[in-house]
Amino acid sequence: MSQNLRHIACLDDEADILMIAQLALETIGGYQVSVFNCVNSALDGLAACAPDVLLLDYMMPDMNGPAVLKAIQSDAALAHIPVIFMTANAFPPDEAHFLGLGAIGVIAKPFDPLTLPDEVCRIWTDWGSRAG
């Protein structure tokens, strides 16, 4: 992954959080951001927008994060998209658990909108250097 992080997709059922994340990533980070507030629209639209990374809410009412991740991984068109979980779980499992699921990292909610772009970039870059 030699190129820079440019395009970030977010999937969260909370429209407000989605908007904050979008604002932070766009205005502070200067990234291109695509947002999805339901799983189906994400699965339909992700292939078209081809993001560099997907921020995925861990807990959603219709389909939870790990299930969505599985769906993405099993879809040949989407399998290449790296996923970062975002979780507000009061008792989150270890980071190793998320990595085991196939995510490249995890960001705890509530996140600081001012540092969110940097954090996403750091995880993505780390993953990139790990992947070689």
Binding site: A90, F91, K109
Partner: protein, 659 residues
């Protein structure tokens, strides 16, 4: 439920064998009687009458020896008085009548003695010591009178009538025979036999043996005395009947002996026989009454033991907590109470003999085994201290139990008692509470994420330009929303700690570096309060095992507290130095100090010291509780020192791992 009664103390708790001076008195009396009878030849003034006072003296001596020992002296006094009286009567009356009465009296007195040994009378007389002599003498005399009035005249009159035609010799023989033979060794046992028959002295089951013994004694003694008396009668045939004429030598069998010598010889034998006979009767009765008393005491003892056993069994059985006794060597449950059977779902008595592993959850046991421990090791290790374990219901359900155990050695076997209560309900409630808090905080954190994010973005000025005058209000909203978030996070952290979910990842690190980061991180906060943070660490410092994330949290708590409670332009000093086996980190401020009334509870949840500074910064009251939990989780300890107006110093000691 029947109320348990503690056993009443017995009137006299000593065993009966230790109670009276009977044996000593008896032996002395016996010795006295023998000495007296052996001394008979020395007293020849009035034939055989005077020496009868000597056995009386012996009895008196027995009374003295046994005096002060409750029942027995009174009897001996009674016997002595009676014997004296009868001996006196003997002096003036017919020798045979006197002897008869003496025998009856002795028999009666010994009977009385046995009667007095009977618990009914003994308990009545217990505490009425003044009555003892009166009762025994009265009873003795009444008995003697009764017997004398009924038996003696009848027998005597019959004999007189029978002997009217046979002459004085026959009468004399019978007279002596009745006196020596019947009165002493025969009548006394017969009198006693009457009492034995009533069951008053000797219990039913001992009656036969006592009868036999008494009968044998009577027959043997009677035979001896009859033989002696027959031989005595022959003296009359072979020696001069005139007792004053001592010069006339005897004939036949007694040839060459003086009449006195022969007479006294038989006299000695006869008296001795009488005393022995009576004494033997007394002895037999004494043993019988002792047996009775012992039997009663044993029965009473067994009854007390049974009562106590029932009492303890009812404590065991009716306890609300489950209790079972287990022999871990044989892995068998020895006994279980009702609560235990109910908790584990077994029918009454069905837990006895059960394999002790059947009541312990397999997964839980496997967890112990993973630590190379058996349940037995676990219980032994916890001996005395309460512990939690997971039990297994008969139908396979897991039961959460809170228990304690103790070891009892019985017959060189280790028996463990385990006392436990079902805390499944409490566990469920705690789990529900945890889930509830988790849910609530999650629900709070989601909107807080939006609010904080929105306010943060607004205040960053990168999204929109903030209108003049709005910035102050936005800042207030932002600060309070962040504070709310801190509270929610603190509550979550505390819950994590309470649920044992907090994990620490220990690494060997340079404390100075972590402290440097912590001080840097708090810099902005300190600036708000115009407080400076000074870090003072030595040049070289040993590495310590710690969890940097947790230590940062701890330092954040301690530093923010120290800053909050510092005076304006004050200084907070952070030091790190080796302190014994610990690396000590100290955080000192120059505030007002912690008021003494708050010192004891400073590390408890929701404990807050009121901030007297005008800045009025409030916390959640959870910071120090969390700091303590985290330091403890790292195997360290936290403490503080504070004097009024001299500030406060908090210490975090992390083990250097050197012992």
């Amino acid at each position: 439920m029947q109320m348990f009664k503690w056993p009443e103390p017995a009137a006299d708790t000593r065993p009966i064998t230790e109670r009276g001076g009977f044996t000593a008195g008896f032996l002395v009396t016996l010795a006295g009687c023998f000495l007296a009878t052996l001394a008979l030849p020395l007293f020849v003034v009035h034939g055989e009458q005077v020496p009868q006072f000597l056995p009386a003296g012996g009895f008196a001596l027995g009374a003295v020896v046994s005096f002060g020992r409750r029942v027995w002296p009174a009897i001996w006094i009674g016997v002595t008085l009676g014997y004296c009286a009868m001996s006196g009567a003997d002096l003036i009356g017919n020798i045979g009548t006197g002897r008869l009465v003496v025998g009856l009296l002795l028999g009666g007195a010994f009977t009385l003695q046995s009667v007095l040994a009977h618990p009914v009378l003994r308990n009545f007389l217990h505490g009425r010591k003044m009555l003892l002599p009166l009762v025994s003498i009265g009873l003795g005399l009444a008995l003697t009178g009764l017997l004398t009035a009924s038996i003696v005249p009848m027998v005597w009159m019959t004999l007189v009538a029978m002997s009217s035609g046979t002459g004085f010799l026959v009468l004399g023989f019978l007279n002596t025979w009745i006196g020596a033979c019947l009165a002493g060794p025969v009548f006394a046992p017969l009198t006693v036999l009457a009492f034995v028959g009533t069951g008053l002295i000797v219990p039913q089951e001992q009656r036969r043996g006592t009868f036999v013994k008494l009968a044998i004694i009577s027959v043997v003694t009677a035979c001896i005395v009859i033989a002696i008396t027959v031989m005595e009668g022959s003296i009359s045939d072979n020696c001069s009947t005139n007792s004053s004429d001592r010069s006339v030598p005897c004939k036949g069998l007694y040839r060459g002996l003086s009449r006195e010598v022969i007479w006294y010889f038989f006299l000695v034998i006869r008296e001795a026989g009488l005393v022995i006979g009576v004494s033997m009767v007394a002895l037999v009765l004494r043993v019988a009454s002792m047996e009775t008393a012992l039997r009663q005491e044993i029965e009473q003892g067994f009854s007390n033991i049974a009562q106590m056993a029932n009492f303890y069994a009812s404590i065991f059985d009716d306890a609300v907590d489950g209790i079972y006794l287990v022999d871990y060597t044989r892995r068998r449950i020895l006994a279980a109470n009702k609560s235990a059977e109910r908790m584990f779902g077994y029918e009454p008595g069905k837990m006895e003999g059960l394999d002790s592993r059947r009541v312990v959850d397999r997964d839980w046991i496997d967890m112990l085994h993973a630590d190379n421990k058996s349940f037995r090791d676990f219980v032994k290790e916890k001996s005395g201290a309460p512990f939690d374990w997971v039990g297994l219901h008969k139908d396979g359900k897991r039961i959460f139990l809170e228990a304690s155990s103790s070891c009892h050695i019985q017959n060189e076997r280790e028996i463990w008692s385990v006392v436990f209560r079902d805390v499944s309900q409490r566990r469920r409630e705690e789990e529900l509470k945890r889930q509830f808090i988790s849910m609530v905080t999650h629900e709070l954190r989601t909107p807080l994420t939006s609010i904080n994010g929105a306010l943060g973005l607004l205040l960053s000025g990168k999204v929109v330009t903030i209108p003049v005058g709005a910035e102050k209000l936005l800042k207030i909203a932002n600060d309070n929303s962040r504070r709310l978030l801190v509270i929610v996070n603190d509550i979550l952290d505390i819950e994590k700690i309470a649920a044992g979910h907090m994990k620490v990842e220990m690494r060997l690190l340079d404390v100075a570096r972590v402290l440097d980061q912590a001080c840097a991180a708090i810099g902005g906060y300190a600036a708000q309060f115009s407080v400076s943070v000074k870090l003072d660490t030595p040049e070289s410092i040993p590495q310590v095992a710690l969890d940097p994330t947790r230590l940062m949290q701890v330092m954040d708590n301690l530093l923010s507290n120290a800053i909050k409670f510092s005076p304006r332009d004050g200084e907070v000093t952070v030091r790190a130095f080796v302190f014994g086996n610990f690396m000590r980190i100290s955080v000192h401020n120059d505030g007002a100090g912690i008021p003494p009334e708050y010192q004891a509870s400073i590390f408890e949840k929701f404990s807050q010291v009121p901030n007297t500074s005008p800045r009025q910064v409030k916390g959640t009251g959870l910071g120090l509780a969390m700091a303590k939990a985290m330091v403890n989780a790292m195997g360290g300890r936290i403490s503080f020192e504070s004097l009024p107006d001299q500030g406060a110093t908090f210490f975090v000691d992390l083990s250097l791992g050197v012992s």
